[in-house]
Symmetry: C2
Subunit: 358 residues, 2 copies
DNA sequence: ATGAAAGCGCTAACAC
DNA sequence: GTGTTAGCGCTTTCAT
């Protein structure tokens, strides 16, 4: 229990033979300072190993940093995890004077997002963190940035935009992982069918591409059955799968690259009672967890939505407070491999009472 | 950009018709206050929805919270990850006036830890976070706690002690996961050999128990070959494995429940050129990652040591500052399933430049 | 261009 | 038992 030991601006002022006001001007890059004094102060700060006290800074700012989070409400199954990440960031960042405002549309549909962004009073915010709706959201993001409000995207990106960074998953990488797992689980031979939500989305293309890359290179005895598209409709995925299973094409593996595709596919396999097929899906929900438990789904690849919103917010605050800039425009959170016996960590109840996520 | 909107003690004081000093006495549970006034103040605080401003609190404390972290240096391969977690916690918690002191012995051997704890001037610390050495460390931990210095353990526990909580992995659960993966990767049949570091440690017993539980219940066609002990010596694990492979007992799976066991086993399999065996190991290192890449190791179960030290520190600070108490004495971090194509996220380089771990 | 001073919300020391 | 006051390190405003 000793007094604070960190270097303060006061010490720098003394050392540099000036006042704390001037030190602040130098450190915070504010105008009204002689370049020579500025250089000297910076030099001293460097030598003393000064690190700013973020708490004192936030306290004296006397203003809150207001951050708007644009996302959706449904399907609640999925978005509640995102919301939990936001809540976590909210409680942690409150100490830094950060206030978060949720701006949710019912769905993450292009129209709904457009309307929301159209009517958004962006001048109220010091930063915007957006679960973006792809191409249609680009002009809005660019406008916000042009007007001086930094934007970060998460979960779903708007690649061409001027956003500062994107926090999400590496689809190509997770596709490769899926390929490897499928290859190993099938013992290197068989026939696998692939079903996706929309075949023309980059998410599908990347997951599919990664999957095929590995299968073709490392598991030549596994063939890939041409893929089907279910338009994010579990019922459609179900009927496609049911059809495939009936034809008996000796398919022993299914790779479904999206949430809805996984739900529908699993349902069909359960209905057909086919225990001898290996199913690798994406994302988690009550129904997928049940399938994991009952053995109708072999494994799920999960890209922790909690982490995506949580980290995007943390980094935006770092940008706003410390002027941090990302090393890359795209920041990937690790995909989690979920089997039956490590599934419990991802149930909603578990997450809610997880002491590490408070 | 508006002024702070949170309720302050000043507002509570005004509302309760008293001074901020009294409010503080009530809120911080300090003596010298009339029970009646205290109740009234608490009531008002409750009504106004007061949340303390941790920044202002840390600032005005004028003291640092000094936390000692007891751990080891070697094998550096492993402990450097633990150290990274400590560094992360250190930078994040610095704002809260937390100073961390590293107290590392060369190895985590009973004698070395005992000596370190014996000579530890625990009165210097507000809290101690210990990578404990099991039973031998219990009396020391109990003494520290008795003398008023709270203790938390991480990575390795001292179960019978008075520590506030333990942050580590759930061995039984990861054993089950290993069993499930082995069962699925072997297509439900075969013979698997198990090798561990010390057969009488709880870690081994739990991992082994979880593994057998699942294999016996769900994969009756898989037989388990009696286990071998390698005393944390890779060379010994190597010779055991080489022997087993030579005898040709039709073993097609290996489950190694510890780091050294995994390293040695993988080496033997590589030497024998046996591609047809499935190996599930524990932990990660340069050599294991190389084996994953070359296909000599199928998958590794990884209990993120970074998270263990990082979270233990965070929670200890929460305890010290907010009086938080854990919901359970044992807090588990999730085991990660690592294959070749998601391995990169766990390389040291990747972790170092990971923007989420700064 | 620079210095002095007020004050953010809280704790701790000191008066009464 | 209670009120008052002096800071913690920083930002901001107002003099100079």
């Amino acid at each position: 229990m000793k007094p604070f030991e960190r270097v303060t601006i006061k010490q720098i002022a003394k050392e540099a033979g000036t006042s704390i006001g001037t030190v602040d001007r130098a450190l915070s890059n504010r105008p009204g300072i002689n370049p020579a004094t500025k250089a000297r102060v910076l030099q001293v700060a460097q030598e003393l190993g000064y690190t700013p006290n973020r708490m004192a800074s936030a306290l004296s700012r006397k203003k809150v940093l207001r951050i708007g989070v644009v996302s959706a409400k449904n399907p609640a199954d999925f978005y509640s995890y995102i919301d939990q990440g936001i809540t976590q960031a909210e409680t942690e960042l409150r100490d830094y004077g950060v206030v978060i405002e949720r701006l949710y549309s019912p769905l993450l549909a292009p129209d709904e997002q457009r309307e929301l962004l159209e009517n958004l009073d962006y001048t109220k915010y010091d930063g915007l963190v957006i679960n973006a709706g792809g191409e249609p959201s680009v002009p809005y993001i660019n406008k916000f940035v042009a007007e001086g409000v930094p934007v970060a995207t998460f979960n779903s990106d708007s690649p061409g935009s001027d956003r500062l960074f994107f926090v999400g998953s590496n689809s190509r990488q997770s596709g490769r992982l899926g390929g490897e797992m499928m290859g190993k689980l099938l013992g290197g031979k068989g026939k696998v069918a692939i079903i996706g939500n929309y075949l023309n989305t980059t998410t599908f293309v990347d997951r599919f591409g990664g999957f095929c890359e590995v299968i073709q290179r490392e598991y030549p005895e596994i063939s890939i059955y041409p893929c089907a598209e279910c338009y994010s409709n579990p019922a459609r995925a179900y009927s496609i799968m049911a059809g495939l299973l009936k034809e008996d094409l000796h398919i022993n593996g299914f790779f479904s690259t999206g949430y809805s595709a996984t739900v529908g596919a699993v349902e069909a396999i359960k209905e057909a009672g086919r225990r001898n097929v290996t199913v690798i899906g994406y994302d988690l929900s009550e129904s997928i967890m049940q399938a994991l438990k009952d053995g109708w789904c072999t494994s799920a690849l999960y890209q922790d939505p909690f982490q995506q919103s949580y980290q995007a917010l943390r980094l935006m605050v770092r940008h706003l407070i410390e002027g941090w800039v990302p090393p890359s425009k795209t920041l990937f959170v690790e995909a989690q491999v979920v089997f039956r016996y490590n599934m419990d960590s991802y149930t909603k109840e578990h997450l809610q009472e997880n002491p590490f996520r408070y």
